[in-house]
Symmetry: C2
Subunit: 244 residues, 2 copies
Amino acid sequence: MADYELHYWTGIQGRGEFVRLALEAAGASYVDVARGPEAEGGGDGALMRRLRHASNPTPSFAPPFLVHGDFCIGQTAAILIYLGPRLGLVGKTERDVLWTHQLQLTIADMVSEAHDSHHPISSSLYYEDQKDAALERAKDFCTHRIPKFLTWFEQVLERNDAPGTHLVGAQLSYADLSLFQLVEGLRYAFPKAAAAALSERPLVAQLHDNVRRLPRIRDYLKSRRRLAFNEQGIFRRYPELDAG
Amino acid sequence: MADYELHYWTGIQGRGEFVRLALEAAGASYVDVARGPEAEGGGDGALMRRLRHASNPTPSFAPPFLVHGDFCIGQTAAILIYLGPRLGLVGKTERDVLWTHQLQLTIADMVSEAHDSHHPISSSLYYEDQKDAALERAKDFCTHRIPKFLTWFEQVLERNDAPGTHLVGAQLSYADLSLFQLVEGLRYAFPKAAAAALSERPLVAQLHDNVRRLPRIRDYLKSRRRLAFNEQGIFRRYPELDAG
């Protein structure tokens, strides 16, 4: 039996991917429940029923959620603050724990903005029904927000004088993995804007490349466990939104 | 000298208010630095210079940030996970710490959506320049998102069988204070939609009323330290957006 149960939608990387990358980088024993056979709780319908299960004292507002022993934890950043020390993906001091978490929360803010670039009005409407607003919001995102966020991450990397290219100290943390995923997503959704921004932020690009070369991450990215980006997820390639 | 330094913009409640409520509810010794005299670092200009200070190894992307001894912590939820145990505003078990944090992160998600209801395109544009999109987004927020989020909080309160009306166990936590502030903001910005939603979620309304009657909170709300809501903050009263 696997140690950890990850519960997330079957068809997209989405926010579940930040948890998956931590589990994969640590070589943890986990099962991606909804992507398994129906007889073992697979499928989005079963996921939705678990999400709404009336007897769960700590229900999540939305996937992903992680089940580990008696714990059922929702919210990506809360899952990662729980997994960090267990998977060796965060430093041991309170300062490192908090700073890594602060970085993760800022990554989460940028991820939400990336999502809203194609859905600025409502998640329950189609992209095509909010395309005019999306064109405006994506232009602002590419022109102002991508440079502002990536400049901040570049500064964080510049100010870390420990060896290697890590956000916190000299050690791989879940925030590094999440920044890797953010860069992956930006390059998929906004290839021109991301290339322009990354060409001027070499440490962010370097961190991304280093994470991609980690043996477990390299194997994972080649595996069937890694879903491809697509136009149902957070990062969507709509060329008209790439104000590069 | 005060124990804690809170750094936040001078003219709005904003995200700083969630930190302020925790400090006030605990009777903590703190100073709201930017709102103090210029000679003591007051003013938004001084705040911006501190935010961008080049030698800070843990810079924040945006205010609020909290300075306490050697710690400089940004991101509201990270500040609260730090303050919670120090101020007695979270349970002692890992389960309570995580669950309270998960609740806070979900409140933060709703706060971001409340903000984007009047600024769906860009924070750097005026409301008037994105009013058409705001009308659409606010309608979705009032019709779908307010009921969905508040139903979830109501369920959390229903499932907590400890005495009193608290999100976690039988004890006041920073998540209770934050949900109070969220309800305050919704009532200010969307009086009709909030009244309709709260009339069907009595436990959320009860929690709000209980927090408001806490002696320290009551005193704080009457004091000059509590800023009024206004149309520069997260929660703005634009009657045309209140799709109640």
